[in-house]
Amino acid sequence: MSALKLGLPSKGRLQQDAIDWFAKADVTVARTGSDREYAGRVTGLDGIELVLLSASEIPRELAAGRIHLGVTGEDLIQEKLADWAAITPKVTHMGFGFADLIIAVPTSWADVTTLRDLDDAAAQFHANHGHRLRIATKYHNLVRGFLSQHGVADFEIVDSQGATEGTIKNQTAEAIADITSSGATLTANHLRILTDGEILKSQATLFAARNAHWSQANRETFATLRERLGLSPDLGPDL
């Protein structure tokens, strides 16, 4: 009988918070081997196998059904899976890993406080500089969809996988879209969030994989877990 596979982030704060969160449901996740070894086991509830993955790979593993449950941010799920709601139904928010995906511009742009202003600035910039206003982000799909929905044009997305706040100073972008929790990094880099520039409020979330093979035993394990988490044991129509 194959166990229910639970995907957790392989390191960092998100992993520790997730482990603490499951402990409240008497599901104990213990790392085995050294700190650097990506292995662990679950006690307190039979039939669960732990899979440690990079948080950014969990959406893909959920979509493929190689894990039954996975913990990751809503930002990553929505960015990486176009049809996420149908593929990976949300089980529950977990109350940590809060992060807002926002659009920010240099504080010196006194004329740009809203998305409409950004659209004006982008048209002006395109005409003056011969290329579109560049927005650096790793959230290409979310940003493109958000700006399109709000009628902003004359921009292009440039990829930035880290230190995104620095791209403006380095002149590889004019504005950024990135995750922020306190806004301190933005302030330190002389950037300001647009008043209507919040794309997504994200937090760590437990997702289920519709495409996984759910045996009767897996379903029963999941129903027990749900009960311990204070959720209805009914798996709902999705699984």
Binding site: A82, D83, P106, T107, S108, W109, A110, D111, V112, R116, D119, D120, A121, A123, Q124, F125, A127, N128, H129, R132, L133, N141, R144, G145, S148, G151, A153, D154, F155, E156, I168, K169, Q171, A173, E174, H190
Partner: protein
């Protein structure tokens, strides 16, 4: 029919339909060509934000074609000025990124024609339109709803208004987004006061004093935007004239009269050419063409269009469309090659044919 017929009898019918359409265009004098699927990503933006957002950029300076206009132009430009008959037909897949709320296929067929040349532009407009329409008719789809527009007429209408170049340029660029265009017309009528902490003559200097300056957008540009908004407004008269123009929706035969009612005689040169086109339509396709629907705000969201545009639909799906893009050549290679093209979506056409004659 499924979006993509790749095998079996549906595939056979799709191949036959495509070959019949292409053979018809070849007989009409179009040279059959095979534009590459990958082209220089630098040209993707010419189709505007909508097309840019839909295009797969390969990350190596190449883009997977999301329509044929630019690839066909590039192929034409390669041959140089003495290229012979500048009329082409083609068929093949285009690729479009899907996203949330967009369930269109990421790959589908387009089959079309393009004409490069500056002679008798209104006649060329009608020839392309007629070739596309009669190709649909010959395949068995008749009575298909048509919509027409004229982006050049919008540009000309803007040129008659007593407004600043800044406002003219901004409104011209917003044509493709009707909601934003109307919102901007509303917004530009009232001055936006300077932020309370930025008063006095030298806004740029104050920005430099108060902020860390970074990035390519300069304090001069910020200052220019702030002062322009504070002083350069759109008069109510110009705004109302423009809105009245954009509201025009009537049979194409009535357009000159309706435009004159809004703009007086200021557009007579342009309307004379519009009337030439009406005459060509009547001559080529019959008097009933005067009743073809026209909308002043219709432009097909492909930003390289700058003249006559048209679209044929079946059950709300675009089965064929096209338009004039005279300035594309200028933007890509500084050449003067006025052009118009039209395309058919064979898969939509086939499913439309199945519905009208099951």
């Amino acid at each position: 029919m499924s979006a993509l017929a790749r095998r079996g009898s549906e595939y056979r019918r799709l191949v036959d339909l495509s070959e019949t359409l292409l053979a018809g265009f070849e007989q009409a004098g179009y040279e059959r060509i095979d534009p590459p699927m990958l082209h220089d990503a630098a040209h993707v933006g010419l189709g505007g934000q909508t097309l840019l957002d839909l295009t797969y950029l390969m990350g190596n300076g190449l883009a997977l074609r999301s329509d044929f206009t630019v690839p066909v132009y590039l192929l034409h430009a390669e041959r140089g000025r003495d290229a012979g008959t500048p009329r082409y037909c083609y068929s093949g897949p285009v690729f479009r990124r899907s996203g949330p709320g967009n369930d269109r296929p990421t790959e589908y067929l387009q089959l079309g024609i393009e004409y490069f040349g500056s002679l008798r532009r209104e006649a060329a407009d009608v020839r392309i339109f007629a070739n596309i329409l009669s190709a649909l008719h010959r395949s068995g789809l008749t009575g298909v709803p048509v919509m027409t527009g004229d982006v050049g007429l919008f540009h000309a209408a803007l040129d008659t208004l007593d407004i600043s170049e800044r406002i003219r340029t901004r409104l011209r660029g917003l044509f493709w987004r009707p909601e934003q265009l109307r919102a901007q017309i509303e917004r530009m009528q009232s001055p936006v006061p300077l932020p309370a902490d930025l008063t006095g003559p030298d806004i740029e200097a104050q920005l430099r004093d108060r902020h860390v300056i970074q990035g390519k957008r300069t304090p001069a540009e910020v200052a220019e935007m702030l002062s322009a908004r504070a002083t350069d407004t759109l008069s109510a008269e110009a705004a109302n004239t423009l809105l009245a123009y954009l509201d025009i929706a009537c049979p194409i035969g009535e357009v000159p009269e309706r435009v004159r009612a809004v703009l007086g005689t200021r557009l007579d040169d342009v309307l004379t050419r519009f009337e030439d086109r009406l005459r060509e339509l009547r001559h080529r396709l019959g008097p009933e063409t005067a009743t073809l629907p026209f909308r002043a705000d219709f432009g097909r969201r492909h930003e390289y269009y700058d003249g006559f545009v048209f679209e044929m639909t079946h059950a709300d799906q675009i089965v064929a469309a096209g338009g004039r893009y005279d300035r594309l050549a200028q933007k890509v290679s500084d050449a003067d090659w006025p052009a118009i093209g039209g395309m058919i979506r064979p898969q939509i056409l086939l499913s439309a044919l199945d519905e009208v004659a099951p």
